[in-house]
C-alpha cells in the first residue's frame, strides 16, 4: 500500500512544518507571542496547510489521470489484428489489465520473478501457465500482443507511481519551505489560514455538486454508448424486454415500456395503500390524538420508517407473498401463480411508505395556522368539518407535494421489488401477476459477469438515466410545490 505510506509521509511533513513554523514565528518575535500578528498556532497551521494541501491535490489528480493516460497509450499500442472479430478494443484492454494484475499478484506471491514478468521475449504459453499456477484468473491463452501490452502497462504504471511519489514529496517539501519563509512576526497568518479553511469549506460544499455531476456524467456517457449499439427508438418504444443471456448482443429486445409499466403499476398499488393510511394517520395524530397517544404512536410509526428496505424485501418474499398466494393462489381464488407479484411488492412498498407519507403530511398539516382552525370552530364547525373543509384544502398543495415525493420514493425503490415483484417483464393488468421494474432490471443487468461493453449491460445505464430523470423531475416539482406552500404561511 504505497499510497497509504505516501499519505502518512506527507502528513508527517505537515506536522513537522507546523512545529517548525510555530517556532520560527515565535523566534522572529523574540519569543514573545504578543508581538506576533496572529497566534503562534496560525503560523504553524499555515506551514502545515502549504505542505499538505497542494501535495494531496496533486496526488488525487495524478491518481485520476494516470490510469486514463496509461490505458490510452497501451490501447493505442494494440494492433488491430490483436482484436478478435467478435470482440472490441475495450474487451481486449480488460484482458490486458487482467493479465497485468495477474503478473503483479504472481510477483507479489514470489511465483514469478520481476525479470521474468518484464521479459519481452518470454514465451506466451509459459506465462499463461505460470499465471494459472499462481491462481490468477486468465480467461484464455494470453496472446503475444496482449502480453506485450500487459508488460507495457505494468511498466508505465510502476514508473507513473514512482514519479507521483517523487512529485508529491517534492511539492510537499517545497510547500513547507515556502510556508516557513513566510513565518515572520508581521505575516498575517490568521487571515491566510482562515482563507484556506474557507476554501476547504467551499470544496466540501461542492462535493454535492460533484456527486450530481458524477451521476450525470456516468449515466450520460454509458447511455450514449448504449444508444450507439442499440437504437434509442427501440429502447423507448419497444414493447418487449428479453435480453439474451449470451452477453454478446444481437438478439436482445430491450424495450423499456414493460419495465416502466411494472414500475408505475407497483408504485400505484403502493400509493393506494400508503396515501389513505398515511394521510388519515397524520390527521388523527395532529388533530385528534391526545399528547399521550401521540407520544406513543408517532415513534412507532417512525420505527417503520427506520427499517432497512432489505427487511421489507424479505418480508415481501417470505411472508406477504406466501400469504397472498394462500388467499389468491390455486388453493384460494386461483388468480395468482406465484408469491412474487405486483400486489406483493406494491403492498409491502405501501407499508414502507406509510410513515413517509404520514410524517410529511403531519408537518404540512401542522403548518396550517391555528387561526384557520379557530375561525372554523368559532363558526360552530365540528373537527372533521374543519379538517375536511378548511385544513385539508389549505394543506392541499403541500400534501400533493408529499404524495409526489412518496411516488418518487416508490419508483426508485429497489430491494422490495427485486425480492417481491418477480423477474418477468410483462405488460399486463392483473396485479397478481409477476412483473418487474426499472430498478430490478438495473440490478439484474449489472450483477453477474456480463461484459460492461455489451448492450445487455449498458442498457442498465439507460434505465438508470430514465429513472434518474423521472425521480429528479418529480422531486424538483414536489419540492417546488412544498416550498411555495410553506412560503404562503410564513
Amino acid at each position: 500500500m504505497p499510497i497509504f505510506w505516501l499519505v502518512l509521509i506527507v502528513l508527517a511533513i505537515g506536522a513537522a512544518g507546523y512545529v517548525a513554523g510555530r517556532r520560527r514565528a515565535l523566534a522572529s518575535a523574540g519569543g514573545d507571542s504578543r508581538h506576533l500578528h496572529s497566534l503562534p498556532s496560525y503560523y504553524g497551521s499555515n506551514v502545515a496547510i502549504k505542505a499538505v494541501v497542494p501535495a494531496f491535490l496533486l496526488m488525487i489528480v495524478w491518481l485520476l489521470v494516470q490510469p486514463l493516460y496509461v490505458s490510452n497509450t497501451v490501447s493505442g499500442m494494440l494492433p488491430q489484428s490483436a482484436i478478435p472479430d467478435n470482440s472490441s478494443r475495450g474487451l481486449v484492454m480488460a484482458e490486458v489489465r487482467r493479465a497485468a494484475e495477474g503478473m503483479n499478484n504472481a510477483v507479489a506471491q514470489g511465483l514469478m520473478s520481476e525479470e521474468f514478468a518484464g521479459n519481452a521475449r518470454a514465451d506466451v504459453a509459459d506465462v499463461t501457465q505460470r499465471l494459472k499456477d499462481a491462481g490468477q484468473i486468465v480467461t484464455s491463452q494470453v496472446t503475444q500482443p496482449i502480453l506485450r501490452a500487459a508488460q507495457r502497462y505494468r511498466v508505465m504504471n510502476s514508473t507513473g507511481g514512482q514519479m507521483m511519489t517523487i512529485a508529491v514529496l517534492v511539492l510537499s517539501v517545497l510547500g513547507s519551505l515556502w510556508g516557513l519563509r513566510e513565518s515572520q512576526a508581521e505575516y498575517r497568518a490568521r487571515n491566510i489560514v482562515e482563507r484556506s479553511i474557507r476554501a476547504l469549506l467551499v470544496g466540501a460544499a461542492s462535493i454535492a455538486v460533484l456527486t450530481t455531476l458524477g451521476i450525470v456524467l456516468s449515466l450520460v456517457f454509458n447511455t450514449v454508448e448504449f444508444f450507439r449499439l442499440y437504437p434509442a427508438t427501440d429502447f423507448f418504444f419497444g414493447l418487449n424486454w428479453a435480453p439474451s443471456f449470451s452477453g454478446r448482443g444481437g438478439s436482445s429486445d430491450l424495450g423499456i415500456l414493460p419495465l416502466l409499466w411494472g414500475t408505475f403499476y407497483i408504485s400505484l398499488v403502493a400509493l393506494v395503500v400508503a396515501v389513505p393510511i398515511g394521510l388519515f394517520a397524520a390527521i388523527y395524530l395532529s388533530e385528534y390524538a391526545s399528547p399521550r397517544i401521540r407520544s406513543f404512536a408517532k415513534p412507532l410509526l417512525e420505527v417503520l420508517a427506520g427499517i432497512p428496505t432489505i427487511v421489507y424485501g424479505l418480508f415481501a418474499l417470505l411472508t406477504v407473498g406466501p400469504l397472498l398466494l394462500g388467499v389468491f393462489g390455486d388453493e384460494g381464488l386461483g388468480i395468482m401463480q406465484a408469491g412474487t407479484a405486483v400486489m406483493t411488492a406494491g403492498l409491502v412498498l405501501g407499508i414502507m411508505l406509510i410513515p413517509f407519507v404520514s410524517s410529511l403530511s403531519d408537518d404540512i398539516i401542522n403548518a396550517v395556522p391555528q387561526a384557520m382552525r379557530d375561525g372554523s370552530y368559532g363558526l360552530g364547525a365540528t373537527k372533521s368539518e374543519t379538517i375536511k373543509q378548511v385544513v385539508l384544502p389549505a394543506a392541499l398543495p403541500g400534501i400533493v407535494g408529499a404524495i409526489l415525493l412518496a411516488a418518487s420514493r416508490a419508483i426508485g425503490e429497489t430491494m422490495i421489488v427485486v425480492l417481491g415483484a418477480g423477474a418477468a417483464a410483462r405488460l399486463s393488468l392483473n396485479p397478481f401477476e409477476a412483473m418487474t421494474t426499472v430498478t430490478a432490471k438495473i440490478v439484474s443487468q449489472l450483477t453477474g459477469d456480463a461484459d460492461f461493453a455489451s448492450p445487455e449491460a449498458l442498457v442498465a445505464f439507460a434505465l438508470g438515466m430514465t429513472l434518474f430523470v423521472i425521480t429528479l423531475g418529480l422531486n424538483i416539482f414536489a419540492l417546488y410545490i412544498v416550498r411555495k406552500y410553506r412560503e404562503q404561511y410564513e
Binding site: 399528547p291 387561526a371 370552530y377 368559532g378 360552530g380 365540528t382 368539518e385 378548511v390 384544502p393
Partner: protein
Amino acid sequence: MYDAPASEQKVNQQTTKISARKVQVYYGDTHAIKDVDVDIEDRTVTAFIGPSGCGKSTFLRCLNRMNDTIDVARIEGDILLDGEDIYDKKVDPVQLRAKVGMVFQKPNPFPKSIYDNIAYGPRIHGLAKNKADLDEIVEKSLRRGAIWNEVKDRLHAPGTGLSGGQQQRLCIARAIATEPEVLLMDEPCSALDPIATGQVEELIDELRESYSVVIVTHSMQQAARVSQKTAFFHLGNLVEYGETGQIFTNPVDPRTESYITGRIG
C-alpha cells in the same frame, strides 16, 4: 365622527343574555381566571379591558367554549346562555358556537373564495334550503358586514387577497352569516390601521341593534367609543364592571383608576 360617547347613545331596555358565576379557568397549574361573576346584556356592546395577560381573552373564549380545543385548559363555575348552562354535559359545543359567534384578533379568512368564506357557516349548519337562499344569505351578510360594495364584483376571488381591514370585515360578515345571538370579538382591530379600525368600529355599533356583542380590546379609547358596558380585568380577576361612562369617568376601584390613568398596564 367618534366623539359621541357610547354612554350617551340610546340604550334599549336590557335583558341578560349571558351570566357567569364563579368562573375559574386553569391552564395546567396556572390559575388564569379567578372567581369571575358577570352579566352580559342583550343588544349591548360589552367591552373587556385590562392589561396584557389579565385573562380577558381567556374569559371571552370561555363564552363559546373555544377553550375546549386547548388540552390543558380546565374550567369551573357556571356560564349560562339564556338560562342554560353552556358547560352542561348535554350541550354540544358545535351548537353553542352557532349561537355564539367569534371574530379573532388576526383576520383569518379561509383559503377559499369570498363567497365560500361566507357560505361556510350556513352550509355546515344547513341554514340554506337551496342555492338562491345561500346567495341571499351571502349577500345579506356581506352587506351587514359593510363590505358588499367592495367585493360584490369578485365574490369568487380568494378571500386572502383582500386588504387587512377588508379581511376583518369579511370575517365579521362570516360570523354574522350563521345568525348568532352573541358575537364575541377578540381584539378585532389590533391588526388594522386607523381607517380600517374606524370602519370596523362603526360596524360594531350597527351590529348592536341585533346582537349582544362582547369585545376584548387593549385600547381604552376604543372601549369608550364602542361599548355601553365595560369590564376591567386585572391578574385574572374581574375588578370592576359597569356602565362604560361610569368606569371611565368615575371608577370605584383604585386599580381601575390606575389603569385608566395609565399608571399600570
